[in-house]
Symmetry: D2
């Protein structure tokens, strides 16, 4: 996300004085709620979906994730890189290649 | 997210030949599943939570969102800005300020 | 569910003094969290799943739903029948037969 | 749930020829989707909620759970009692009383 997009999301919240609703718990609920509106695009079929609807719901998940990073004063790149480092060691290429198993059953 | 972080996520998937599992429907399920591991951090309390656990689960949601953008060849900034434009008109500042109502009951 | 099963669920909560955690909001989170552990059984495949794991997670969803009915002093049959009456009129057989469309696009 | 209510749910599905959509994976998605519509009732407040909306969404979760029990030819009481037996031993009263900790951190 560019700084401009991030600023737009922040300004949207500030202009509406919505920070008061953005407790970490409320944002966690919101991410799950929007993730399920995204999931609803695939409720009855894995292959036929309305891409414009998918875009919209995925955007909403991303916006609430951004709100949460802001609220908790977290850096998106930092948290993702920390997680990727964990995943890289939990799922070594030679063991995990081509398999969808969880790390504890590889 | 920096290009470097995005590349790291892509390389992780490619190295493990996991693109075959990343259908849009499977990624939508995955985003919801991780969103709920995030929600679990707040299951019994809104105010006491393990921040390192929150960071980890939020990171996973972000990684799966990135996988989905990649799979559908979408631009994160573009989809978010399109959504923000919609939200800005659905929630005009003078009507929405300080209220948590949905746009259709403002 | 038999009265005996319902009583067992209630006794479990009472014996542990857990009613204090069972606010309607916490139970709503819990139902979503367990629903996603159930969903995880199908994360990477729609057809290969561990039935004993499915049974366990589905049971947990049912238990939390029962906790919520209890907390809100609702009758399960009553709420389900009210909903079924709505569904029967929203999805008339002649229009809805064999279609997975939502009622507003039938 | 009474046998009459169960039969009404089954007849609803049969009359519409919807069993074809009720794969276990689709029902797992549906349970999560409805659980999140329930969660949406508590998105911005834990204490102010529309009880008629809560009833409706909780009913939908119960209906999809019933559909899943039917699809997998499971007995609701049996799966719930098996789970309760597990919970009773994982959360002994003397250790778990008054605590919201997970069993592995009791």
């Amino acid at each position: 996300m560019t700084q401009e997009t991030i600023d737009r999301i922040r300004r949207f919240t500030e202009d509406r004085d919505w920070d008061q609703f953005h407790s970490p718990a409320n944002l966690a609920k919101s991410i799950s709620i929007e993730a399920n509106e995204l999931l609803e695009c695939f409720q009855w079929s894995d292959t036929e979906y309305d891409i414009s609807h998918v875009r919209e719901e995925l955007a909403y998940v991303l916006v609430y994730c951004r709100n949460m990073l802001d609220r908790l004063v977290l850096d998106g790149d930092e948290v993702v890189n920390a997680k990727m480092a964990m995943n890289e060691s939990k799922y070594p290429v030679d063991k995990a290649k081509g398999k969808s198993n969880k790390y504890d059953s590889l």
